[in-house]
Amino acid sequence: MAVNRMFRTCPSTGLVYHEPAEKLIRWNAVAAVVSLLVGGILALLVTLTRWPAVHLLPPDWFYLVLTAHGLDMLVFWIIFFEIAVLYFCSSVLLRCRLAMPGMAWLGFWLMIVGALVNNVAVFRGDSSVMFTSYAPMGAHPAFYLGLILFAVGALIACFVFFGTLVVAKAERTYNGSVPLVTFGAVTAAIIAVFTIASGAIILIPTFLWSIGLVDYIDSLMYRTVWWAFGHSSQQINVAAHVSVWYAIAAVVFGAKPMSEKVSRTAFFLYICFLQLASAHHLLADPGLTSNWKIFNTSYAMYLAVLASMVHGLTVPGAIEVAQREKGFNRGLFEWLRKAPWSNPSFSAMFMSLIGFGFLGGISGVMMGTEQLNLIIHNTIYVPGHFHATVVVGTTLAFMGLTYFLIPTLFRREMMFPGMAKWQPYVFGLGMMSFSLFMMGAGTLGVPRRHWDMTFAGNALGYEFPGTAYLMMGIMAISGLAAVVGGIMYLLITVGSVFLGKKIQTPDFARVAARDGVAPKPVPQPVAVSHAGIGTAGFVAPGTFVLALVFLTAFVLYYFVNWKYLSTVWPLS
């Protein structure tokens, strides 16, 4: 079969698009946004039900809607978009053809069918088993089958990504190492392969159990292996959105990583250790020893946390250096004040970085400590944490990337540019507040997932303090603000892609392999001089101060929770 060698170059960005890769990126991105739309409507219903003053849905509908919301957001929206990011970081950034486009389409359609089958199973009403679907709570067989089909499709997409790396190397479309952003995507793809394999290990027997071919699924075995899928799927996000941070910093500021070696080593720490953090979901489970729990969640997870702190330092550091070199060199924070805050790609990325670090990161370390985990286990603190990581961190970063992709990938002018300036703030600040008050209510013991926090009519009722109800109310109002931000994003993206004014660019043309060979690299100086910028010997003093603020908040919050733990169960 003839290899498609049709490419086009975007005149404004210089990015090179391979025809099948461009189509696949578009279709995956559109599928992602459709999942976000469905998941967003369901988010509104969940929020209005968990708001004690409104308490919208009856229990059966609440659990159905919560199940669908979890799957559409945590699995389908995120992974469709991540596959688009993988193809972008391989084919587009390496300026090469996508390997095996036919297989990539097979993977895409398997993912579509899987997502549809799973959603149908949930909306039938007999699979309200939550995102975690803990056995022995059983769902309709189609629920598991849909997830398995989706996972197989995503796995095919990951191998298309690895195949594209091979093509790029064979056709010498780049010199030396792959770009850092692509390396971050390699990290995401590796974690994805482990995640999907773990999902297959547990979901295939569970599917067989649901149709009666397997007698019994051990609940602890299920939980242990399932979390290698369930939590690691969110670690794909971390690697992907950190790559997006580097990409947006490079696009908006021309920022270069402060140290490629350090950033790559941080990604390597993710590859080795990030998935092990899955164990923090099992810290309260009997049966697994403290050795296993503490090794996975503390020793190993802290190395992954170290990597996140490295990225959290180097991305703003690179932006600060780039800004100071442009002349914004006064004081500690002129570089930040003069940043393009009305550019939604930047504002989304920067809020993603701050929210992920201060809210998601710090709370994640607290939750990952075996003793402290007891304070908040199975409370609404847990969704508070992962809304800070997955929604503020990943979704906001992906939204920022979308604003960059609309003109270059979809070749459309962005509609509602005024609204786009505000969208990251409405969504980001709403979601940060939502996560924060969820965590506050969780610290007071409000349970996660539960339809009614008052436990009305139950034998073992519990009287929460008024503060808990106040926090749940503020959480819901913040959630409504975030939903408005989500609607703004959907209006802008869907409007731009389908109704936006077309941007005329040169069309696809055939490019022979020999013409795609990367030019010989220009020798670079070993040490880059930053003479004349920064203060007191620091090239990025503002970032250094931000890092100190972060560390102070981290240490204080961590030890405050130890103090809090000591008051939970008074001994006398």
Binding site: V186, M221, F268, C272, L276, L288, D515, G516
Partner: protein, 57 residues
């Protein structure tokens, strides 16, 4: 796309590539590490502990 002539042997950089960079430049080695480590430390170790729980009599 860039037009570039094929490299001549003289163009090849003869400086040795550091070992760590060779590891980081090999996606399939990284794939192996990224699957083997959590499989052993999380799944296999965890499953062995569960299997080792005494059965109630």
């Amino acid at each position: 796309m860039n037009n570039a002539s094929n490299e001549s042997p003289l163009d090849v950089d003869d400086e040795p590539v550091p070992a760590m960079q060779q590891i980081l430049d090999n996606p399939f080695l990284l794939l192996f590490i990224g699957i083997a480590m959590p499989t052993v430390l999380y799944i296999v170790w965890g499953v062995m502990e569960i299997v080792g729980i005494p059965v109630a009599k």
